[in-house]
């Protein structure tokens, strides 16, 4: 067979030399992308587990304990976010955004759920970002993009984007809905109304933003509306059921029920 002379062996070629540089540049980028994807998956899993843990607050007496345990878990997640920040040192965050956006959204969901349970307010983007500041000891020379505090130490930050924040909060509403239904199931008469108001505020916020936000947000609006309607229905049920008995009698009813169940406790 007739084979053409090869050009790639012409190692002196400027063109080939240039492409060898390109090869390295591309491989480096892809490798970084892969590492970020893996970090993102880890963050997703741990955040989800934190959310599961937090749902226990509706059934345990010691809420603080759960919150602390969750905070420890979240600290571990933040360490992973720190690793992302490390990877992004001196890079353009948006260049690799697709690799870790889903993990970050899940973290926002977890941390805002934690915050809501503790403070009954919506965590702000600033508050989230304030906890994503990492101290690093530099073994080698200081790199670009990291602020030098004193020799050998620097501060790394990670900035959650507005869109990731919004998407995380949109998912939060699903967890709030679950918490609301659980509260009703546990005989809690106040939390559902509180959650309903909070969820309604978030819903109104999202409908104020409407379709000016990113496409992914609009996609989640339907689920959000369903969650709200489930919560409103739950509050409605509490109200109509409660309407059958004068308000001042409720306390009696419940104290007797609690007593009733204390007796039952030994039964598996």
């Amino acid at each position: 067979s007739v084979q053409k002379t090869d050009y790639s062996i012409n190692t002196s070629s400027l063109l080939i030399a240039a492409f060898k540089v390109f090869q390295q540049e591309l491989d480096t980028k892809h490798d970084k992308y892969e590492r970020l994807v893996k970090l993102s998956r880890d963050i997703t899993i741990e955040s989800k587990r934190t959310i599961f843990l937090l749902h226990r607050v509706t059934s345990v007496p010691n809420v603080e304990e759960v919150l602390n345990e969750a905070d420890v878990k979240l600290d571990a997640v933040r360490q992973k976010v720190g690793q992302i920040a490390e990877e992004l040192r001196g890079e353009d965050l948006y260049q690799f955004h697709k690799a870790f956006t889903s993990g970050v959204q899940e973290y926002v969901e977890a941390v805002s759920f934690h915050h809501f349970i503790k403070h009954r307010t919506l965590i702000s983007l600033e508050e989230i970002n304030a906890r994503l500041v990492f101290m690093r000891h530099e073994k080698m020379d200081t790199k670009v993009g990291a602020e030098v505090l004193w020799p050998g130490t620097c501060v790394l930050t990670f900035q959650v984007t507005h869109t990731d924040y919004l998407l995380g909060v949109a998912d939060l509403t699903g967890e709030l809905m679950r918490m609301c239904i659980s509260s009703v199931g546990n005989g809690d008469m106040d939390t559902p109304f509180e959650l309903s108001n909070f969820l309604r505020e978030i819903h109104d916020g999202f409908s104020y933003i409407g379709n000016t936000g990113p496409y992914e947000v609009s996609k989640k609006l339907h689920t959000l509306r369903q969650s709200l309607s489930k919560v409103e229905d739950a509050c409605y049920t509490l109200k109509v059921r409660g309407s059958e008995i004068p308000k001042h009698m409720l306390a009696d009813v419940f104290s007797s029920r609690t007593a009733l169940m204390d007796q039952d406790e030994g039964v598996p």
């Binding site: 059934s59 029920r257 009733l260």
Partner: protein, 227 residues
């Protein structure tokens, strides 16, 4: 081996695979039929008149579970024992239904949660995966959750039938179940969705108990409910 031989060999494998699946499908269809029969037996407990002879219905269901055991024994012969998960999708659904039915029978009999071991005894599967045809943990959990939803219905209908003690006992049972599930880290999968449904069952039963409480109907049967 030539390309043609290679593809003939693969085609042989694929045919065998399809035959296995066909065999499995047939047994599973029969199993589904038996499951529907057990369901029909147990459904009648929701009728006002059904509350009286729960024990006899349980016995009848137990008998049908012998048929199930035979059918599952048949199913086991249809595929290589170590390839359970290769064909899992075929029987996943019916095993969940059967677990639900077993759990429901056990609950009706003793008001306790069936263990995974008990289910495997009732259905005639293995306990350990290594030993062969077993019950996947997620299928076991799914079956339990189907039962939870049946119990919320039972709570409602037991009030209609005038049994005011049962709802409170169901409530205690289901609350403990809920606490158990809260310990699990579920993925965003069908099981998670089913578990979300459990919250509604808990809520529904809570409402029944509330209705009984404000009318003072729960108290009289308290002693009875303690059993």
């Amino acid at each position: 081996m030539s390309v043609t031989e290679m593809f003939s060999y693969i085609q042989g494998f694929l045919s065998a695979d399809q035959d296995i699946r066909e065999d499995i499908r047939k047994v599973v269809q029969v199993l589904e039929q038996t499951a529907r029969e057990i369901l029909t037996v147990l459904q009648s407990v929701h009728q006002p008149t059904g509350f009286k002879d729960i024990p006899s219905k349980c016995l009848k269901a137990r008998e049908l579970f012998c048929t199930v055991q035979a059918q599952i024994a048949d199913l086991k012969t249809k595929f290589p024992v170590e390839q359970y998960y290769r064909f899992h999708e075929h029987w996943r659904f019916v095993l969940q239904r059967l677990t639900f039915l077993a759990a429901f029978v056990v609950y009706l009999e003793s008001e306790s949660l069936v263990t995974r071991e008990e289910v495997t005894n009732i259905l005639g599967t293995e306990v350990d995966r290594e030993k062969g045809f077993h019950l996947d943990i997620e299928d076991y959990l799914a079956g339990i959750l189907i039962m939870a939803s049946e119990l919320s219905r039972l709570a409602v209908n037991s009030v209609t039938a005038g049994d005011y003690g049962r709802p409170l006992r169901i409530s205690n049972f289901i609350n403990e179940l809920d606490s158990g599930f809260r310990l699990l880290n579920l993925k965003n999968d069908p099981l998670r969705k089913r578990y979300d449904g459990l919250k509604y069952d808990v809520k529904k039963i809570e409402e029944v108990v509330y209705d009984l409480s404000i009318r003072g109907l729960a108290k009289e049967q308290e002693a009875e409910g303690d059993k």
